[in-house]
């Protein structure tokens, strides 16, 4: 899908809508916008490995949680916030590259199970390594003595920055040899290897990219909330949520994951507000409907109409 101008226009318009919320809306809306940006970044990251490469990765929460912990530990040792986020990004990217070298040898169901196990293992290790991580009690971060509106606005822009970075990386990858190689692997890995694509290196690159922005988002989230603990940082539910967002928007497209994240977060807020007891079940229903009626994601609707229009015009 290489449609230059409309793509950039849609992207910039979307980011502007989110970025201008502090001008006209209350703190709740700004907070929702920041959450949309954060999940947008997570879903866009997942897209590298899950969308382009077609590997069913469920390790997003592991990278997010590790990023949160590395960032938090750095900050507690007096490292300034921005630098702590950068360190978290680099450390988790290195971790993902190493881990990818091991578990990317698995395929299909085995890879899915292995990547879920990584989330659980990270949670277990973090909860039992009390001397460093505070164990089950969690960690407190240095509080930022800013007024709430200013704090909210700051983290909105931080999350938007991470989202923008992940989108730019997606566009670059999509138009490069790497993106082409990843799509080949998606279609037929053996054939891709046969025509000379270094599949191992490409997959590791995709996996590392999918971890990097999650780590930054995790570290920023930790600074934002001021407190993290193992159960909240490493949630299988969160991992699956991110995958569902990407599928909802359209896996393997550039803007799909972000669009899916926005739609999902808005739905979730709506259900939380109106059906407190049943919000989880309603999200379950949304997932089931999505799988049956919208397997190509929201973007496929637009494409279908576009294609239909073209066919109609030709006749």
């Amino acid at each position: 899908m290489k449609s230059g101008f409309p793509l950039y226009a849609a992207m910039i318009a979307g980011l502007l809508v989110l970025a201008t919320t502090p001008l006209y809306a209350d703190n709740y809306v700004v907070r929702t916008a920041a959450i949309v940006a954060m999940y947008g970044a997570l879903a866009t990251s997942w897209n590298f490995i899950g969308g382009f490469t077609g590997y069913p990765s469920f390790s997003t929460a592991a990278f997010f949680g590790l990023g949160a912990y590395v960032g938090a530990i750095c900050q507690r040792h007096g490292i300034p916030m921005g630098l702590a986020w950068a360190i978290a990004t680099v450390v988790v990217a290195a971790f993902a590259a190493l881990l990818g070298g091991i578990i990317l040898r698995l395929r299909g169901h085995y890879f899915a199970i292995g990547s879920i196990a990584v989330v659980e293992l990270c949670r277990l290790v973090v909860s039992s390594w009390s001397s460093l991580t505070g164990g089950g009690d969690g960690l407190n971060l240095p509080l930022m003595a800013w007024p709430p509106e200013e704090l909210m606005r700051f983290f909105l822009f931080v999350m938007l920055g991470i989202l923008l970075a992940s989108l730019v990386a997606t566009i670059i990858v999509d138009r490069s040899r790497l993106g082409f190689g990843l799509r080949c692997i998606h279609q037929n890995e053996d054939a891709a290897a046969m025509v000379g694509i270094n599949t191992t290196a490409y997959k590791i690159a995709a996996y590392t990219l999918s971890a990097m922005f999650c780590a930054t988002a995790g570290a920023a989230y930790a600074s934002w909330t001021g407190y993290i603990d193992p159960t909240d940082s490493f949630q299988i539910v969160m991992t699956v949520k991110v995958v569902v967002m990407a599928l909802l928007g359209g896996a393997g497209t550039i803007l799909g994951p972000t669009l899916g994240a926005a739609a999902f977060v808005l739905l979730e807020e709506l259900f939380w507000a109106n059906f407190l007891d049943w919000n989880r079940a309603i999200l379950g229903v949304v997932i089931v409907l999505l799988i049956f009626f919208l397997p190509g994601g929201l973007l496929s609707l637009g494409m279908r109409r576009l294609r239909a229009a073209k066919v109609g015009g030709g006749q």
Partner: protein
Amino acid sequence: MAIYLQILSNGLMLGALYACLAVGFSLVWGVLNVINMLHGSFIILGGYLTFFAWHLYGIHPVVMLPLVAALMFALGFALQKLVINRVVSAPVLTTLTLTFGLDMILYNAMTYWFTATPRRITLDLGAVHLGSIVLPVDRLVGTGLALAMTLLLYAVMRGSSIGRAIVAVRMDRSAAELMGIRTDRIYAITFGIGALMAGVAGVVFATVFPITTNVTGIWLGKAFVVCVVGGLGSVPGALVGGLVLGLVESFAGHWFGPQQAITAGFVLMLVLLLTRPTGLVGVRGYE
């Protein structure tokens, strides 16, 4: 020495429960190629049915066993027939996400109706002393039931025509279809059996462990590990995987503390995934 014998027997008893817990999950994965995220909730649902039958009407868990088995089979059969069969040949991402969505619905319904308070049936049957080893009778009965049901499933798979048809579909779907096997029906039956075995595990668990919706993920995780350790889609595989996991957890818990027991299980699984993805008794080619 005595302590090790105790740990060994604890591990074996736990292992039999794990085998019963995972065998249905393993069958569904092996035959349908679906990772059933509902499995943990199925177990807890079986446990809740048993608990409330006992608590409200005084029905003994052993009496509830066939009833829960029948109910869970019907639920599993209907779910597969009406919902999952429609996407059963889609990639793992689709089927896993779908069963996760279904699990969210079941989980939410159970939390709403039963609340998350841990509940347990205490039968107080005393304990058997074998030399220095202490074996609580309720656990022994649970282990016996779990083993009996797992072996019964094995007999059904080996001996009945339905069982042979399931194995045939697992080996080669198209060939089975050409032989006149209705695969969609076999899929529904297999999923029904998966839910049935989960329900049976739930009946046994209700007398041994606290039943609460909070632990669905933990039991699902055990099913993952047992499957990968033993190998997919076969009853002996689940049995071996369950016993190995039970022993590993018992000994790891003794040496490194109870928290590390779960970690040891996951580490074992990751190592086996990488070195022997077909499992200890698995057959190649069932990826």
